[in-house]
Symmetry: C2
């Protein structure tokens, strides 16, 4: 198991080169592997909102790097003035996408560092924020590997595992959450095959999950989102594992649109439904999932594929990017600190406060 950051066989969608942050453009996969270089927080904010980088943990990492780059460019000798400016930069970054809480979690961690060190010089703050951003990046992959170790016993040898969207290396700093659990099961010597929902409209399953797993020779079969029920009814799916964008205190999970439908289908067929997510995804400030803000994205994501028009001009469209799966439909939540099941409110509270 190599964790060497220059091993190009390992998929890491965010990398550093000569003081710049490079991100793999996930909008262009699998046809093209294009890396963009960023040096300012504005560029990184744009990369997050336009989904060059996506996936709850990955946008948390990207936001931390954006905050670091923003901090680097603040011109003042006053730590107090520095902090005022830094807060504004974080406010721009946090507004890029509303649903995934990892974004605000990472920025809160960056702000907390700065706020706790206002007695230091601006130079020291800048160095400290760089260190913090790099720590968030490195920890993310380590967390995913821990999550994999906790979760992989849930996948039996021979399991046919359905996943939705991409909760893989591409959605994180590396290794992945849901796909991390699958990777860990494969590394443990189990035969695992994956059924990937294509995940309209952005096609993260077809474009990203299929690409990631194919690259690592993990057997993967692509289906349209509306085919999961058919395969379940035929007994061709043994369990479901997905990531999460935000988990409320009661265990309700916001994740990519369509996750709720998969969970309802899993319940109908008595198939276990697992969520894999870092503790940073848990938002104890929200009593339940109804309070999680759901982003609605541009109509064009649905009406067009590149320049091809799929629907009549002027058609009315709804494009919610996420939905909420109530905890009653969730068999277990896998985190880096262990598995929560049953009484989610108590279990999540315990796991967050003891992290």
């Amino acid at each position: 198991m190599s964790t060497c950051p220059i091993d190009t066989r390992v998929i890491r969608p965010i990398r550093f080169l000569a003081g710049q942050c490079q991100m793999l453009d996930q909008r262009l996969l699998p046809a093209e592997e294009v890396w963009h270089s960023y040096t300012t927080y504005q560029e990184i904010a744009e990369a997050i909102s336009t989904m060059v980088v996506r996936g709850a943990p990955a946008i948390g990492v990207a936001a931390a790097i954006g905050a670091w780059f923003g901090a680097r460019d603040i011109e003042t000798e006053s730590s107090w003035d520095f902090y005022q400016e830094f807060e504004k930069i974080c406010a721009v970054l946090v507004a890029t996408r509303p649903t995934a809480v990892n974004l605000s979690w990472a920025l809160e961690r960056m702000k907390h560092f700065a706020e706790s060190n206002l007695d230091r010089s601006v130079l020291e703050l800048k160095i400290g924020l760089e260190y913090e951003a790099l720590a968030i990046t490195q920890e993310d992959e380590k967390i995913n590997r821990m999550m994999g170790q906790h979760g992989e016993p849930l996948l039996v040898d021979g399991a046919r595992v359905l996943t939705h969207c991409n909760a893989g290396a591409l959605a994180t700093a590396g290794y992945g959450t849901a796909l991390g659990v699958i990777r860990a099961a494969v590394e443990a010597g189990k035969n695992i095959s994956v059924i990937a929902d294509e995940t309209r409209p952005f096609l993260q399953g077809a474009r990203l999950t299929a690409w990631e797993l194919q690259r690592e020779n993990i057997p993967v079969t692509l289906i349209c989102d509306n085919m999961a029920g058919y395969l379940m009814s035929k007994g061709e799916i043994d369990c479901v594992i997905v990531g999460a964008d935000r988990i409320a205190a009661n265990g309700d999970v916001a994740n990519k649109i369509g996750t709720y439908t998969v969970a309802v289908l899993a319940k109908e067929h008595n198939i276990p439904f697992y969520v894999a997510a870092p503790v940073s995804t848990i938002d104890l400030s929200l009593n339940d999932g109804s309070l999680i803000p759901i982003e609605e994205r541009d109509e064009r994501e649905i009406t067009h594929i590149k320049d091809i028009q799929l629907a009549p001009k002027g058609i009315s469209v709804r494009n919610p990017a996420f939905d909420v799966t109530p905890s009653r439909l969730i068999t277990a939540i896998i985190t880096e600190h262990g598995i929560v099941t049953g009484d989610y409110r108590a279990g999540l509270d315990q796991i967050v406060k003891h992290r």
Copy 2:
């Protein structure tokens, strides 16, 4: 309510001109309205298998026309030889698509006519088969209007109705089955708004249902298939109405892939789930839905949109074109002879034998 066949405002995907059959190429909608002319049964078989024309009732009509064209070109004076040839032509046509039973229903009706009139001359048989094919075409629209009359009381004023795939005028000779019920409710003065699943991979909802309804100013909102559950959970859908490709004796319904998922979601949210289909869709020879053959179509329908590659090269794909919704999830089946609910086996038997 105009039924004039030359009223071009009315959508009819199959029309006749100068002894040729013209079909609207449904693969090119909504971007282009292209009509192809056919004069041989081989051309019509190709149009059915490549989905120039699709929709269970429409392919039944198309097959009848194909059989008529095939009959027209048989060169013999012997009625018995004629019938031998005609059977071969029907065998080619019935093999074009396996799931919709309307195809074999229409061809059985054509064969039955010929077989019952073998004492007639070949010329009389040809004239009779032309008459029969035109009757099947004209009856189909009339049947849909009857279905609309029976079904429209199920839709209350203000109803927000989800539909999947296209069970509209484009799926029939005209007026539609599921969309026929919606049209009838609108004609009865009710405000009805439609939520259309885009229906991957062929996008019948985005391309055809949206186009049809927009053209008639019936309010329609397009969503991805994986968004229906979200809208139901928000209380934004009042009922579901879909068409059918084959209905088994116990009321299990084969319809476009994804229909089963919508039915499971409707049950989870206590939303009525209606099926609208002509009696020709009912196949009493099959005890239940597990016996209905499910067509698996080409991988490219999923991996590409025109020439744009959506998934990595060499990816494994499943592409079942239909699924089966068990009758326990169906609130009512609407036919031209009335509504069946509750004991489907008895109700369908009754309605088929009294048609």
